[in-house]
């Protein structure tokens, strides 16, 4: 008996000792590998979630593309409640080592990569029967790819003119899974070449999105990019490119599809109670992505109640507090969610307080709106010979929609241009425009008298900081990438 036990044990030992590769092959159960991530068209459909999901991180709509462009300008004033986490950005002290700059660069390319994985492999599963479905998915990815490259360009390129031969950004068309990751070392293309690619992607997207199986957003909120959203992106790109005819026609498409909200409806846009005017919004919601949009400006829930920045009093002095619906929608005097008393002079930013009556700061990011489209079209008309009256008409339409008892303006020439610029500040306050609007126009910031914790008042047009540095991490890994001048 004992001998039998010994023999069995010995046998087991020998089997064990023989070893076997199978014993140490394990497949993940809670994560997917490439073979099982995309097996059918439905997987691509779901894969779109990864693309839109990645846009909500702090490197993009979660902060750096949404709140920072106002924090770093004269639209906001940093208060003593600030945690001063972004002083390098808000006071233009950034170097290529800046973490926020690196975070933005990476976040953008991460979104682009997610889009490219779908764009470059969906054709393998596309058949005549599901062509329209494929068009719907791929078209959105192309639109995202174009838009995100454009946003990179806005921060990291110096000269944003359509034909600028100065350095733009690498335009990524392949996903990281199609090449050896370590060998990817793209150089910067010219701004003009970037525009070529952006336009090409937008045009292809338009063709694809015009021939789809089912409506992308139905009658609900426009959480994904459909033809209207695409036109809005197109209009913004064209404005920066000074491609005014395209800006006018695309803005018109959005304006016709999504008329301006009435004064009574307007505040409910910011509470996500109305879909009026919104051409594309990034969804922020409880239970899905409960991140406080603009929480670095004002984080409202009772436990926090931290007003780190307030609306610049000199801007709000130009907004009619009684009749202009945008004053009370943007800021609230002395607002507080606790027993903490704030002075009535404190213009607490309350544009993103929450959905409905909530005060948790969790609310959709309205990336494109009809209000902006009127201002794009007005600016495009104003810069087009013989169209000044149309420009004034658009400006007046917008102002009349926002201001009770508005008497139509009569600005012309430079006054009209200035009026449009001022209106952009009022209309697009805390919507991620101010930094870029200044950059593409005057390139001067003057905050006037400052107090702690702000340390810098002026940013002259000669300063290097108008263009963000290429992050040092990128430079270290990619020998081909060229730094912006001055860094």
């Amino acid at each position: 008996m004992k001998k039998i036990i010994y023999k069995i044990s010995l046998g087991l030992f020998l089997i064990g000792a023989a070893g076997c590769k199978k014993q140490i092959t394990i497949n993940p159960t809670h994560l997917a590998t490439l073979e099982n991530a995309f097996k059918e068209m439905k997987d691509y459909e779901n894969g779109l979630s990864a693309v839109y999901n990645s846009m909500r991180g702090v490197g993009y709509y979660g902060r750096n593309m949404s709140a920072l462009p106002d924090m770093s300008t004269d639209n906001l004033v940093q208060t003593t409640e600030s945690l001063v986490n972004f002083l390098e950005i808000t006071d233009w002290l950034y170097t290529p080592q800046n973490g926020t700059v690196a975070e933005t660069w990476l976040a953008c390319y991460s979104i682009i990569n997610n889009a490219n994985i779908i764009i470059n492999s969906i054709d393998k599963l596309t058949t005549p029967a599901n062509q329209k479905q494929a068009n719907r998915i791929k078209g959105q990815c192309l639109a995202v790819r174009a838009m995100v490259h454009f946003d990179l360009l806005r921060y990291f390129a110096d000269n944003l003119n359509r034909n600028s031969t100065t350095a733009g950004v690498p335009y990524r068309k392949l996903s990281v899974l199609e090449e050896s990751p370590a060998s990817i070392k793209p150089s910067r293309e010219s701004v003009s070449s970037n525009y070529d690619n952006i336009y090409a992607d937008l045009n292809t997207a338009r063709t694809l999105l015009s021939d789809i199986d089912v409506s992308i957003n139905g009658n609900g909120p426009k959480y994904k990019i459909d033809l209207i959203g695409l036109s809005a992106i197109y209009a913004r790109v064209a404005l920066y490119a000074k491609d005014y005819p395209a800006a006018i026609s695309n803005a018109t498409t959005v304006i016709n599809a999504l008329p301006l909200a009435t004064r009574s409806v307007y505040p409910s846009i910011w509470r996500d109670q109305s879909n009026a005017e919104v051409a594309f919004a990034s969804l922020f919601a409880l239970g899905e992505f409960a991140s406080r949009l603009a929480g670095d400006v004002y984080s409202p829930p009772p436990g926090t109640n931290r007003s780190q920045f307030e609306g610049n009093p000199s801007l709000f002095a130009q907004i009619d507090e009684v009749n202009d619906v945008r004053f009370s929608t943007s800021v609230t005097r002395g607002f507080s969610t606790t027993t903490l008393v704030r002075a009535n002079t404190r213009l607490v930013v309350t544009k993103y307080l929450g959905k409905g009556t909530a005060i948790d700061g969790i609310v959709d990011w309205k990336a494109f709106r009809t209000g902006e489209m009127y201002l794009i079209r007005a600016e495009a008309y104003a810069n087009t010979t013989g169209q000044e009256l149309n420009a004034l008409a658009d400006l007046n339409t917008l102002r009349a929609a926002r201001i009770q008892g508005f008497v139509p303006g009569t600005e012309t020439g430079q006054a009209l241009i200035d009026a449009i610029a001022l209106e952009r500040r009022k209309e697009l306050f805390m919507e991620g425009h101010r930094w870029f609007d200044l950059k593409r126009t005057s390139r001067v910031i003057d905050r006037g008298t400052i107090s702690s914790p702000t340390t810098q008042s002026q940013l002259a047009n000669t300063r290097r900081e108008w263009v963000w540095p290429i992050p040092q991490g990128e430079r270290d890994a990619n020998i081909n990438i060229q730094q912006n001048s001055g860094y």
């Binding site: 001998k3 010994y6 044990s9 087991l12 030992f13 064990g16 000792a17 070893g19 076997c20 140490i24 993940p28 159960t29 994560l31 590998t33 991530a37 995309f38 997987d43 459909e45 779901n46 894969g47 979630s49 990864a50 693309v51 003593t80 409640e81 600030s82 001063v84 390098e88 002290l93 170097t95 080592q97 990476l106 390319y109 990569n113 690498p170 990281v176 990751p181 370590a182 070392k185 994904k224 409880l286 239970g287 899905e288 409960a290 829930p301 009772p302 436990g303 926090t304 027993t339 903490l340 909530a358 702690s452 340390t455 810098q456 040092q472 991490g473 990128e474 270290d476 890994a477 990619n478």
Partner: protein, 973 residues
């Protein structure tokens, strides 16, 4: 003589034999020791019985027999005319010492590599929740730093320098053959430990070659001792206090004066100022307390020739120095082994532990962490608003530390089961000397964490629905280890050969599950209070499962000649599921040799040296821990948007990823001189990690920052010294000193080929070829320009500048990991009184004080500030080291770099053992009473509570090491 030997050799080996009888006892209490190995002429001739007695047959020519037993010093006794009576002393570290390496038990003489041992005496009755912390300063080459004094917190243990960047740097922990993780020490009972061996070099770690790259800590728990069943009670009670603070923050008058000098940001009027000046809250006092430690253990050991057992039960209860932190542990152990026949033995070791931790957040910069809030809260604020009776809301928006401490509960309950069973069979019917052993162990851990933020807490009010949050997370970890071996021992003449072939299989499965729920709207501030079915309080659910496996086949061989020359070697092939299909397997090997010079004839003239040994080893060991279980695969994680869940790329593939290999060379000298009065050891080691797991930096246009790749090389090279001296050895009084000292030099030899000369910069450190890992990389701060108050920096070319340039002006300033460390113990015995004084120390590292940046940044002046800020530059001509407040503070400068050196009175213990006469009178076998102090004094210059930092940076929210005074009692009966 030689001729005689030859003649004898041809006839029956034991032809002329004699019988030797005797008894072996414990030198301390005279109790008989069972199972002691008896050796004669290089081979084992028998073991002692239950009553410690023995009867062995040895060749006539043999003059000496030696005794060895785990945990005791080996002794060689000469055979006289009568019986041999031997009293074994417990280990203090000598060449005769017996060492447990897990698979084998060796005399230190036989070891060809480097092993440090820590005896039971240093472990027992220490009022520390986590065993690894107890090891600090006890062994050479082993740098142990606790980042936290939180009850039960694990320490960071580095053996012979940091040899990995992306992989784990923690050693492998083996308890009775079962691998456990460092965190588990908080739920293990150190009083059950009999011996701890720290294996460092290639030949000793070879048997753990797939996991031993960072060294191995082998713990054996107590075995039964045959004879009358003996019981022992150990109890202790202690108190701990929070240390004094070297980073002083302002008190009310200074803070208000400072605010007013900076423009009165809160606009206090005279009346308000007057009332605020009457408040002066010391926030540290508000949330700290006197911690209480209590521990009780009862153990029993006994058995007979066939069966031995050890059983224990223990309670450990420690409250921390921060309110609402603590550890409670209940544990039990049973170790049994049984010899069924003279050839078949089996046994089981089993442990059950249940622990309950309550902790607070630490080592972060979060404003809601009470340990940050005690620094940042203004002294003119109060915990409770006297007018409303509710928590005071701070004017600055900084959360109230008292509120977060009271309204948050972080509790982890852990059930820990470790069991290991073995069958050992000698197979003389196949071949004399052949034996078979199989051992299967499981390490099981069930971890249940509750995180509660009531609706009155800052986090609870900032969370989904703003009405509190209740989180529950469970973690189920199972690790199986199966080792099966065939070994063969053969002694002939003066040769002894040991050969073993082994198969080992390890599987680790981790399941996690958890949820976050919200809306504690009612009375219940626990799970019952969660509001269900309300979309405002959407719960979130998470689950994950991950697994890895290791398969190893290896052979170990050792050979000794004349008990003087020792050789060993190993070869192994290991496969890990973590790597790409074609790179799972790798080969490792080791060779070692030892020479006991003092046994040589030519040495016999040297009388003052009793024992002298030279040993050396070389070999390779693998590392594959610390990287993800699916590290070589491309992975898509779940991504949700607008109610749809789809795959998103979360990890890049690297099919080439394979084992990290640590190449180890060791050479060491050990000497015992003047009849054991001096023991000296010196080791030199050179360890090179090849195929280092490193983040190959990628262009960020890939959407990723880096890819874990086998590139790079790092070297650790160092010297280890031990010196044990018996300064006074008198009948009634002994004084022993042990000193250990280690020098470790770490250097990066190669990085990825694409890495620029500057190296890989990460925050305030850099990894650069030719420099140690984690070198400080900062702009040199040179103080303040007296004329304008601007910060002044020194450029690498030596010139001064006011322009901060962190791209071109950063330089390397030392390393964060201490290159010099060790410990000094003095032990005194006078009759029944014993005193031990143990210091641990380290020096030569520069650490970054991030905690200071947050109280010296002038932008944060609406919260409390460091006292240093009151000397900031105000007007031209001011000579100071703090720049003007209106300039943005730069953090990545040497302004915040500090000396991390310290020497600490780690443990001082005074004990009294009752003499045997008195014991007889009260019918007990032993009684000892003691008082002990832990960390009573620390010498350091670092500006914080405590200089002991495991990562070389004080991030913030420091929970300093406990300073504890304990009184205890041990009774044996």
């Amino acid at each position: 003589m030689l001729l005689l030997c030859l003649l004898v050799g041809t006839s029956q080996l034991w032809a002329q034999s004699k019988e030797v009888t005797g008894k072996v006892t414990d030198s301390k209490d005279g109790t008989p020791l069972a199972g002691v190995s008896i050796m004669a002429g290089g081979k084992t001739v028998g073991t002692t019985g239950a009553d410690g007695s023995f009867k062995v047959t040895v060749p006539q020519s043999v003059k000496n027999i030696s005794f060895s037993f785990v945990g005791y010093k080996g002794v060689t006794a000469s055979i006289g005319s009568g019986s041999v009576t031997v009293a074994l002393e417990t280990n203090e570290g000598s060449l005769g010492e017996v060492i447990v390496t897990g698979y084998q038990t060796l005399q230190k003489k036989q070891v060809t590599g480097s092993i440090a041992t820590v005896g039971e005496r240093s472990i027992k009755n220490t009022p520390i929740g986590s065993f690894d912390q107890i090891l600090q300063g006890q062994a050479t080459g082993t740098l142990i730093q606790a980042n936290s004094g939180q009850p039960g917190a694990a320490a960071n243990v580095i053996i012979r320098g940091i040899g990995s960047v992306n992989g784990t740097t923690q050693p492998l922990y083996i308890v009775d053959g079962v691998q456990i993780t460092a965190q588990n020490f908080s739920s293990l009972n150190p009083n059950d430990f009999e011996s701890v061996s720290i294996l460092k070099d290639a030949s000793t770690t070879a048997q753990y070659g797939s996991r031993g790259a960072n060294g191995v800590i082998v713990i054996t728990t107590k075995r039964g001792k045959a004879g009358k069943t003996r019981f022992e009670y150990n109890g202790l009670y202690g108190q701990s206090r929070f240390p004094t603070n070297k980073l002083e923050v302002m008190e009310t008058p200074e803070k208000l004066d400072y605010e007013i000098a900076r423009g009165n940001p809160f606009g206090w009027n005279a009346t308000q100022l007057d009332s605020l000046r009457r408040i002066n809250t010391n926030w540290q006092d508000e949330i700290t307390q006197t911690g209480i430690t209590q521990s009780h253990q009862l153990s029993a050991t006994g058995g007979n020739e066939k069966t031995l057992f050890y059983a224990s039960g223990a309670i450990f209860n420690q409250s921390g120095t921060v309110k609402r932190t603590g550890l409670k542990r209940y544990s039990g152990r049973i170790n049994i082994e049984h010899s069924a026949t003279k050839n078949l033995k089996f046994g089981i070791n089993s442990y059950t532990g249940w622990s309950d931790f309550q902790n607070t957040t630490e080592a972060n910069t979060g404003i809601a962490s009470p340990l940050n809030a005690i620094r940042w809260g203004n002294p003119y604020e109060r915990p409770i608003n006297p007018n409303t009776g509710t928590y005071q809301l701070f004017a600055s928006g900084q959360p109230n530390p008292w509120q977060d401490n009271q309204e948050t509960n972080r509790q982890t309950k852990e059930l820990k089961l470790i069991a290991n069973a073995f069958i050992e069979a000698k197979l003389p019917f196949i071949l004399n000397g052949l034996s078979f052993r199989t051992s299967w162990g499981a390490d099981y851990e069930n971890w249940d964490q509750t995180l509660l933020f009531t609706r009155f807490s800052v986090v609870g009010q900032s969370t989904v629905g703003n009405q509190g949050r209740f989180d529950k997370d469970t973690r189920n970890l199972t690790r199986y280890t199966g080792t099966t071996s065939l070994s063969y021992t053969k002694s002939f003449k003066e040769h002894t050969l040991n050969v073993g072939i082994y198969n080992e299989y390890i599987q680790r499965v981790l399941n996690t599950y958890g949820f976050s729920s919200y809306g504690l709207t009612g009375n219940f501030q626990n799970g019952a209070g969660v509001t269900n079915g309300n979309p405002t309080f959407f719960p979130a659910v998470r689950e994950n499962r991950t697994e890895n496996r290791l398969l190893s086949n290896f052979a170990l061989a050792s050979y000794s000649f004349k008990n003087r020359y020792f050789f060993n070697g190993s070869f192994r092939r290991d496969g890990s599921s973590r790597f790409g299909a074609n790179n799972r397997f790798a080969n490792f090997y080791s060779v070692g040799a030892g020479w006991v010079i003092s046994e040589e004839k030519f040495f016999s003239g040297v009388k003052f040296i009793n024992n002298l040994k030279l040993s050396t080893s070389f070999g390779t060991v693998g590392n594959q821990e610390g990287i993800g279980d699916f590290a070589s695969r491309e992975l898509f994680g779940p991504r949700t948007y607008a109610g749809t869940n789809g795959p998103g790329l979360s990890q890049l593939p690297n099919q080439d990823l394979s084992w990290e290999e640590r190449q180890k060379f060791n050479i060491g000298f050990n000497a015992v001189a003047f009849n054991g009065r001096i023991t000296f050891g010196i080791d030199f080691y050179n360890e090179i990690t090849n195929n280092l797991f490193l983040n190959n930096q990628l262009s960020r246009t890939t959407g990723f920052t880096s890819l874990n790749t086998n590139i790079g090389k790092v070297r650790n090279r160092g010297w280890e010294f031990t010196l044990i001296t018996e300064n006074v050895k008198h009948k009634n009084f002994t004084w022993t000193t042990s000193i250990n000292f280690t020098i470790n030099r770490n250097e990066i030899l190669a990085l990825t080929p694409t890495t620029p000369a500057i190296g890989v910069v990460g925050g305030t450190t850099v990894q650069r070829v030719g420099h140690p890992l984690n070198s400080n990389f900062l702009v040199k701060y040179e103080g303040v320009n007296p004329s304008n108050g601007n910060a002044v920096y020194r450029r690498p070319n030596g010139s001064l500048t006011e322009l901060y340039d962190d791209v071109n002006d950063r330089q390397i300033f030392g390393t964060r990991d201490a290159p010099y460390f060790g410990g000094i113990t003095n032990r005194f015995n006078y009759k029944g009184i014993d005193l031990s004084v143990f210091f641990s120390y380290l020096f030569g590292n520069l650490v970054y004080n991030n905690d200071r940046t947050n109280v010296e940044d002038p932008s944060y002046f609406f919260d409390n500030m460091s006292r240093a800020v009151s000397r900031e530059w105000r007007k031209p001509g001011d000579i100071t080291d703090i720049p003007r407040a209106s300039q943005a503070m730069r953090r990545n400068t040497t302004r915040f770099l500090e000396d991390g050196s310290f020497i600490r009175l780690r443990n001082v213990q005074l004990g009294y053992s009752l003499p045997s006469k008195a014991l007889k009178a009260i019918k007990l076998s032993s009684v000892r009473v003691f008082v002990m102090g832990e960390n009573l004094w620390t010498g350091f210059s670092f500006l914080g509570f405590d200089p002991e930092l495991s990562s070389g940076v004080l991030t913030g929210a420091q929970y300093p090491a406990l300073r504890t005074v304990t009184a205890g009692l041990t009774v044996g009966f």
